[in-house]
């Protein structure tokens, strides 16, 4: 079955293509030809004059259509791998390109070019405009450059950092991981940074330019012992300069990954069947990102396929449950100053005390479902159309004490860390794989158990949340929905009653 499925990837970037259990349109023509929309690229900044952008927008609307947009992007990226004690590779990427989009009713035309010249942009505008042939033509408003508030601060710009500094940070993480325990046999440190410059101009008169730095630091550690192996992982990521590592120490992250590797060597078979689940604060919020966030994206609401269609204003979850998507959290991985359509970022409360109050939108779906633009129109690169995506998505904090939540759970599963998972946004059935989980026996965390799957229906889960802690925390991740996007997910410690856990051991009690 190849129903549409949105997933959070758990696979290191460089192995994404080889191993990804991806759903969606399974088109594997020449694999490498179809996958040219990957990360990493961009050189000397091409600056287009405002009147040039105006000309392209006007050309895009010549045949008809109510909205046209030019998106220009340049990206410079560095990726360095330290593995098995060696700096195995260093990858430098430069890319640039521009895309022109035309919206006419429900129709969208898109064309892009790797080359940023008036010639190519006008040609892209013509190609994109063919969908609007015969429709009434909107009159573009002349663009004017604007400034927006910034949610991203940079103390040590990535462009000014010597490569030796990057290596030193990686080496510190590597050494800390191996020093943690002799059973750590290998550490893999994946360093990635990029600076993405954007120019967005549209027929509503908008013109914005900015530059976004991004850091992504992934540590994986291989623990071997007790007749098994476990790959532990920790990730650090922010839209920030290199000062991120002053606050988030590479050694601490490495030790966290190593700790997981060692603990899980003792893991027993997980139980199978329905049980209560306590989820520790942090990246576990990815469960609601998948299970609830994706179905709340305006595109599937406009298509009337999503599980929340027609439920606006209704009580859909436990009254303890408030869910927020907030693209303004300072320097977070899911934060930008404005989305890839130029809409200002904001804090969007989606479910308030159990009541569904808002869907996330991009320009097209906001028009289709007649809701405000929420700043969720994002794209992987100039090669992609913006679509509705989450930013930093979380369960808001409650008032319960995490220790009480655990102590009041007689038996069940304590999930300390999740890998990733996916959801079918139509029926709301989601699945997650635990990275680190423990049995709960008599209100206490006991033996670690092997990576079990959690599965359920999104509506059952948010109705089944009966305790919400006061310890909100976040973690960084990659979200896949045809395109990949950097996101954060967060939650306080929560308890969910009656989730189906996919272990390999039949429960004896």
């Amino acid at each position: 079955m190849s129903a549409i499925r949105y997933a959070v990837e758990d696979i290191p970037r460089r192995r994404f293509l080889e191993l990804g259990l991806k759903g969606g349109l399974a088109l594997a023509a020449a694999p490498s030809l179809l996958s040219c929309a990957k990360k990493g690229r961009a050189p000397a900044k091409p600056e287009l004059a405002l009147e040039d952008l105006d000309k392209v927008i006007a050309r895009a609307l010549v045949q008809g259509g109510e909205f046209a947009e030019v998106y220009v992007e340049h990206r410079i990226s560095r990726s360095i791998l330290l593995e098995e004690g060696k700096f195995k590779s260093a990858v430098f990427g430069i890319s640039q390109g521009a895309g022109v989009r035309v919206i006419s009713g429900d129709k969208t035309g898109y064309a892009y070019s790797d080359e940023i010249s008036m010639d190519k942009l006008l040609r892209a505008a013509e190609v994109a405009s063919t969908v609007a042939r015969g429709a009434a033509a909107g009159k573009p408003v002349p663009i004017k450059e604007e400034k927006r508030p910034s949610f991203i601060t940079v103390a040590v710009p990535l462009q000014t950092v010597a490569d030796e500094k990057r290596l030193e940070i990686m080496q510190r993480a590597h050494d800390a991981a191996l020093a943690y325990d002799p059973r750590i046999k290998m550490a893999s440190i994946d360093y990635y940074d990029e600076v993405r410059g954007r120019t967005i101009a549209n027929s509503e008169g908008l013109c914005l330019r900015d530059e976004l730095p991004l850091l992504f630091f992934v540590i994986q550690t291989l623990g071997v012992g007790n007749g098994t192996s476990h790959m532990g992982r920790e990730r650090l990521s922010r839209h920030s300069g290199l000062e991120m590592f002053d606050e988030l120490k590479p050694e601490d992250a490495a030790r966290a990954a190593a700790r997981e590797s060692i603990v899980m060597l003792e893991a027993k078979d997980a139980p199978a069947g329905k049980m209560d689940v306590v989820m520790q604060n942090g990246w576990g919020g990815v469960l609601v990102h998948e299970a609830v966030g994706h179905p709340l994206e305006g595109d599937n609401i406009a298509r009337e396929t999503g599980v929340f269609v027609g439920k606006l204003g209704q009580l859909v979850a436990s009254e303890k449950f408030t869910m927020v998507d907030d693209g303004t959290l300072p320097c977070f991985r899911g934060t930008t100053n404005f989305d890839d359509e130029g809409t200002e970022m904001k804090r969007n409360v989606l479910i308030q005390d159990g009541v569904l109050v808002k869907f996330m939108t991009d320009i097209l779906s906001a028009k289709q479902i007649k809701m405000e633009r929420t700043g969720n129109g994002r794209r992987e690169s100039f090669r992609n159309i913006p679509i509705v995506r989450m930013t930093n998505t979380f369960i808001d904090k409650g008032t319960d004490k995490p220790a009480d939540i655990l102590a009041s759970t007689k038996s069940g599963l304590y999930v300390q860390a999740l890998s990733g998972g996916s959801v079918n946004p139509t029926d709301g059935v989601f699945n997650f794989t635990c990275r680190e989980a423990y049995l709960i026996e008599d209100g206490k965390k006991t033996a670690p158990v092997k990576g079990a799957t959690l599965i359920g229906n999104c509506l059952d889960v948010i109705r089944g949340i009966d305790a919400v802690g006061d310890d909100l925390d976040f973690g960084p991740g990659i979200c896949g929905k045809g395109q990949s996007a950097e996101v954060s997910a967060g939650q306080p410690t929560v308890r969910i009653r009656g989730i189906n856990v996919g272990g390999s051991r039949a429960r004896t009690r």
């Binding site: 129903a3 549409i4 360095i80 260093a90 064309a111 329905k274 699945n431």
Partner: protein, 444 residues
């Protein structure tokens, strides 16, 4: 300048600027995709692109840079960036490039007709798929039909005198629909991809499968947590094959991060399992005349009647392991270094009919969808979400949803006791239906 000349000239630049060895990977491509919903074209995307990936070696240190601007200045800049970056990596005697000038003849990778087929005919195909999938009254919503095509040329040259190129293309279409009954929603989708437009399945066939997957899953019933036989249908081949692929990756094997690392030549599963990786299959979606760094592709047996026979290697990992590259260098496009990946990776068909396997199963699960990451290549643990049909008394009794299945690779591979004859060789990663004697199922 054609791409081969450009690649060779760029290698000269690398050597002149201080590289001891260099490789240039050039890609030119053209893409078209569109989506149809409710009988109207909703989205059209069209583009052409170029890109170069430049790998350099300086005193045994490796670095890489990429650019999507093939102008002289941009390429010179990219070469300079790569050479500067090679300062910081670790020298390794295994950092070598291939020199095999051979090319495997693979027929049918490029359909010269695709580009010339009128857009309207392609739109009609997608529209027909959507309309036919909506025909059944149980199908209430369309999630759209998509068509996509891509073609291009890949050129690889290196300082060992290797210089090769080939053209390839492909096209495909898919449709997704929703069946509703009361409060229930159930989605179904199907796709078909081929090298040649004329080889695509009919809209009827693809639409019927999408609709059937959606409405047949309505009215699921719960089942108890239990151990039972599980039949993997051809739709879920990936759940088994993906983890094995990760575990036979030569780099993971070297790192000890594979549950198969020390099992070469041993019986790792049932005699009914034979796995082949074939880069040479005519018209194969995973076929290519040479791999991502120019090594000729072959057809290799990875598991023969349950015995582990081979791992997958690219040139550098092979040099570290003291073996020859198996032609499994894979590229994620021009922006990344070659990794390790399969071509057409399939499990050999068996002799049984799927109906007979169902009939031979008094009570058990017929899997239509498995979610999650499949088998963990590091330790062989497996756990996933599952849906499909429950079998009672050798017949399909009712649909099931929201179950879990779990076990270990060892138990799964050894537990395969029946294999069907229904392998679809047109998929790049495929297995026939097969039964695993007993797996833990999580339900009520």
């Amino acid at each position: 300048m054609d791409n081969t000349a450009l690649a060779e000239a760029t290698i000269k630049t690398c050597l002149k600027k201080g590289a001891d060895a260099a490789e240039v990977y050039l890609e030119t491509s053209r893409n078209l995709s569109f989506e149809v919903r409710k009988g109207e074209v909703e989205t059209v995307e069209e583009a052409a692109g170029v890109g170069a990936g430049i790998r350099v070696f300086v005193k045994g240190r490796m670095a890489f840079s990429s650019s999507n601007d093939l102008g002289e200045k941009a390429l010179n800049d990219a070469v300079g960036r790569a050479i500067a970056f090679a300062r910081i990596t670790t020298s390794d005697p295994a950092n070598v490039l291939p020199d095999d000038k051979g090319v495997t003849e693979v027929a049918g990778l490029y359909d010269p007709e695709i580009a010339g087929i009128p857009l309207d005919r392609k739109i009609e195909l997608a529209k027909a798929a959507e309309k036919l999938a909506m025909k059944d009254p149980r199908i209430t919503k369309s999630d759209g039909a998509r068509y996509q095509e891509a073609e291009g040329e890949i050129t690889i040259a290196n300082s060992n005198g290797l210089s090769k190129s080939y053209r390839a293309g492909g096209c495909g279409f898919s449709v997704s629909v929703v069946a509703e009954k009361g409060d229930q929603k159930s989605s179904g989708g199907e796709s078909c991809s081929r090298r040649f437009f004329a080889d695509l399945k009919t809209a009827e066939e693809v639409a019927a499968k999408a609709a059937r997957d959606a409405y047949e899953a309505l009215d699921p019933r719960p089942v108890k947590t239990q151990q039972a036989p599980v039949i993997f249908s051809t739709d879920v081949a990936r759940a088994l094959l993906g983890g094995i692929l990760g575990a036979v990756d030569g780099e993971r094997v070297l790192q000890g991060a594979s549950f198969l690392a020390k099992r070469m030549g041993e019986q790792i599963g049932s005699e009914l399992i034979t796995l082949v990786d074939d880069g040479t299959r005519p018209k194969g979606l995973g076929s290519e005349p040479f791999d991502g760094e120019g090594v000729p592709t072959e057809k290799r047996t990875i598991v023969e009647k349950g015995i582990l026979r081979g791992f997958l290697y690219n040139t550098i990992v092979a040099a570290r392991a003291g073996v020859k590259s198996t032609g499994n260098a894979s590229r994620g496009g021009f922006t990344s270094l070659p990794g390790i990946g399969p071509h057409n990776f399939t499990m050999a068909a068996g002799a049984a009919k799927l109906e007979d396997i169902i009939r031979a199963t008094p009570s058990g699960l017929l899997l239509k969808e498995v979610t999650g990451y499949g088998i963990n290549p590091v330790n062989g643990n497996f756990s996933g979400g599952a849906s499909g049909f429950w079998i009672e008394n050798g017949r399909i009794a009712f649909p099931v949803k929201g179950l879990t299945i779990a076990g270990t690779a060892d138990a799964m591979l050894n537990g395969i006791d029946m294999v069907a004859d229904d392998l679809d060789p047109d998929r790049a990663m495929a297995a026939p239906s097969f039964r695993i004697r007993l797996l833990q199922i999580g339900g009520e």
